[in-house]
């Protein structure tokens, strides 16, 4: 019936769905969802946000979208588990006059109503490039290990592609690479430990696709009793911030999640009121807005993560990390 579909009528008390893809990265539960909800509350206090996480299962995401539509949402903010499979969600939502805002990952096959993101491929190339630049500066010798994300995760594929675009032409030899099943840090640790046995001190650096696998790589070096080379991360988890402060991890990447989540809320609110916001650019035939993430290293961690209020010193500078914090002036 028409009362359940969006685009017309009053937006007061309307519902909007915020569908996130997985739990492999902690950011969706801890950053994206609460920030989106907060902004929505501010824009429309009577509106309801339906937040769901698909736990890396495209079919489950479809089920979640269907149930959101059944509950009469007027817009869906969708971070697709699988960009191809998400086309079905877009189709069926649009056929029932529900707007779909692609979030974080694009949906190339069927244009959504709007696309707001950082670009995972870009993220891959940024962490890779940052590491390569650092190694060149240090005049490091040897090669690079590449720890990718889950072989069954589309986003991991994008990051992997980006990393290759930085590492392949860098002049450093790619010693070996590994798709980490389920993004499991333990698996990454085990693989890196094996490579340490194999390459010993040939390893100049490790590009890890997220902070968890990066942590695993660091533990492997520590457990082997070998000096830890520069290792990357991604997601700017507090645990990674601690490791960067302690000097164990070289970099991570901070995505301006707050800005993006709030932008998504604003756009969704526009759609819920029946308007069609125009994009800043167009990607995949979709009006789009892209944001640039920041690489975080020991040099800029204070400004990017702490001065901006993304993290609190009290949470991070605990125990043995206090000394490092003081050294970097984080209080």
């Amino acid at each position: 019936s028409t009362s359940q579909t969006g685009a017309t009528g009053s937006a007061e008390g309307a519902k909007v769905a915020f569908l996130m893809p997985d739990l492999a990265s902690t950011r969706y539960e801890q950053a994206d969802a609460p920030m989106f909800k907060a902004k929505m509350k501010q824009l429309c206090p009577s509106c309801e946000v339906i937040y769901q996480n698909a736990d890396s299962d495209a079919a489950k995401q479809q089920q979640q979208a269907n149930s959101a539509i059944a509950q009469g949402v007027k817009a869906i903010v969708l971070d697709p588990v699988d960009s191809a499979a998400a086309a079905t969600i877009v189709k069926s939502a649009q056929s029932q006059q529900v707007a779909v805002i692609a979030y974080d990952r694009p949906i190339p096959a069927t244009p959504a109503d709007y696309y707001i993101s950082f670009d995972n491929e870009k993220i891959g190339s940024m962490i890779g490039q940052s590491l390569v630049d650092h190694l060149k500066k240090e005049k490091a010798k040897g090669g690079i290990l590449q720890v990718n994300g889950s072989p069954t995760d589309a986003a991991a594929g994008l990051i992997k592609k980006g990393v290759h675009s930085a590492v392949d032409p860098s002049g450093f030899k790619l010693l070996a690479e590994y798709d980490t099943p389920d993004w499991q840090p333990e698996k990454a640790q085990q693989w890196v430990a094996g490579q340490i046995s194999q390459f010993r001190d040939e390893i100049a650096g490790v590009v890890a696709a997220n902070d968890g696998t990066g942590g695993g790589a660091i533990a492997a070096f520590k457990a082997a009793g070998v000096k830890v080379p520069p290792i990357t991360g991604n997601d700017a988890e507090p645990a990674a911030a601690q490791r960067i402060i302690a000097g164990d991890q070289y970099n991570t990447i901070s995505k301006p999640i707050k800005i993006v989540a709030e932008a998504a809320a604003t756009v969704a609110w526009e759609f819920m009121q029946g308007r069609k916001p125009a994009g800043k650019t167009a990607l995949y035939n979709t009006p789009s807005e892209l944001f640039v993430p920041t690489v975080v290293t020991r040099e800029n961690i204070k400004e990017v993560l702490f001065d901006s209020g993304l993290m609190k010193a009290a949470d991070v500078c605990t125990g043995e990390y206090a000394a490092g914090c003081t050294e970097l002036g984080i209080t």
Binding site: N66, Q71, A84, A85, D153
Partner: protein, 399 residues
């Protein structure tokens, strides 16, 4: 006339005695289901809306079909851990053949199913020749076919199935026209009556006690009413999906095969006591082969439908909790992990329980951590109801 009356008395008395004896059949699972439905409906009134139930039926079909295969494997006392991988592989093969290679969709479907059958055959050979536990064989299969799936999709990641194709249409948008759905209900109930009547007549002619006419009429009437109500309610939204009809038809066929054919009896016998079955002259290896082939083929069908429903095949197709859901549906539906006990209808009921929990929790809008905890708790509750009833049955001496 006396015969008919005697029959009716037996029918009634039989039912009563069964209830006293604790043989409640599928009743406990149904009770569990009703409890779940009531709770979710109270928590969110969308749950029992026609729309949501339509989605529920459609979501049940693919994994339900896999559960049907699992029931067969469990019945012979074995297990297949690889239905998820096989379904993912068949989705990938389907997509590559159909989309990338441009073959007709039917050819692609048949090829994917043939691959599934071949995998089952391979399992059966390994099991029959070397006596490797099926747990290990299918664990190896789980890994190997996940690898093969990734390899088939290498350099592509995900392949969209065209929305216009009949297959995607079948899984997403094609519903039984209302008149036909009512006709189905009528045919089913009439069929039940006629077959029951013929059977009762044959039994009476042979001097065996049989159900009376009234009992048959009541039973078919109840089915007509029940089915009619369900169909009517679903027709308030999009109606009964053809995919769901396919699933139910497969359940019926499997029920027939298991309950009314020699092959079905062999399956139960092998699961109950494989040595006794062998000594009875049953070709035990053939039974194992048929069951493994069936299970993998059903897994392939499930994978195809899952891909069709998503309109895409990707690297993560069939991973995640597909395996566990399929096995859990079979177990919740009353199939024993030790073989010899279970029914095809169990798979239907089990998957509906699982999908109801999943759908209900989706509607509740919970934090993931809470969602996992509640899923576990609800699953347990649903099965406790069932187990307590079954236990009263065993304490009455029927194992």
């Amino acid at each position: 006339m006396t015969v008919v009356q005697e029959g009716r008395v037996l029918g009634l008395r039989g039912a009563l005695e069964n209830a006293r004896g604790g043989d409640l059949g599928v009743l406990p699972v149904v009770v569990g289901l009703v409890v779940i439905w009531t709770v979710f409906q109270i928590l969110n009134p969308v749950f029992l809306s026609s729309r949501n139930l339509v989605d529920l039926t459609m979501d049940s079909a693919p994994v339900g079909i896999m559960a049907l295969g699992i029931v067969c494997v469990l019945l012979v006392g074995q297990i297949d851990l690889s239905v998820g991988s096989v379904s993912g592989l068949s989705a990938a093969v389907l997509a590559v053949l159909f989309v990338t290679q441009g073959l007709p969709v039917l050819v692609a479907i048949l090829a994917a199913m043939a691959l599934g059958a071949l995998i089952g055959y391979l399992y059966a050979q390994l099991f029959n020749r070397f006596g490797v536990p099926s747990f290990v064989i299918t664990l190896a299969g789980l890994l190997a076919f996940l690898g093969l799936q990734l390899w088939v999709l290498r350099g592509k990641g995900a392949i969209n199935l065209p929305f216009e194709s009949g297959l995607v249409n079948f899984a997403q948008l094609s519903f039984v026209p209302p008149w036909l759905s009512y006709a189905f209900a009528a045919v089913a109930s009439a069929g039940l009556f006629v077959s029951g009547y013929l059977h009762a007549r044959a039994r009476r002619d042979a001097g065996l006690p049989a159900r009376g006419l009234t009992g048959l009429l009541v039973r078919s009437g109840a089915l007509l009413l029940g089915l009619g109500a369900v169909v009517w309610y679903l027709n308030q939204a999009r109606g009964v999906g053809w995919m769901f009809v396919l699933f139910v038809a497969m359940v019926l066929v499997m029920h027939y095969l298991l309950a009314r054919t020699k092959w079905g009896k062999s399956v139960y016998a092998v699961g109950g006591n494989v040595e006794a079955a062998r000594r009875a002259g049953i070709n035990v290896k053939t039974v194992y082969t048929s069951v493994f082939v069936l299970c993998s083929t059903f897994a392939a069908v499930g994978g195809i439908l899952m891909a069709a429903r998503l309109a895409a095949a990707n690297q993560s197709s069939g991973t995640g909790d597909v395996n566990l859901n399929a096995i859990a549906a079979a177990v919740i539906g009353g199939t024993s992990l030790f073989g010899g006990r279970g029914t095809a209808f169990g798979a239907l009921l089990g998957i509906v329980v699982i999908q109801s929990i999943s759908s209900g929790l989706t509607l509740l809008n919970l934090d993931s951590s809470i969602r996992f905890m509640v899923t576990g708790a609800v699953l347990l509750l649903a099965v406790i109801v069932d187990s307590v009833a079954r236990r009263s049955r065993t304490s009455h001496g029927r194992a």
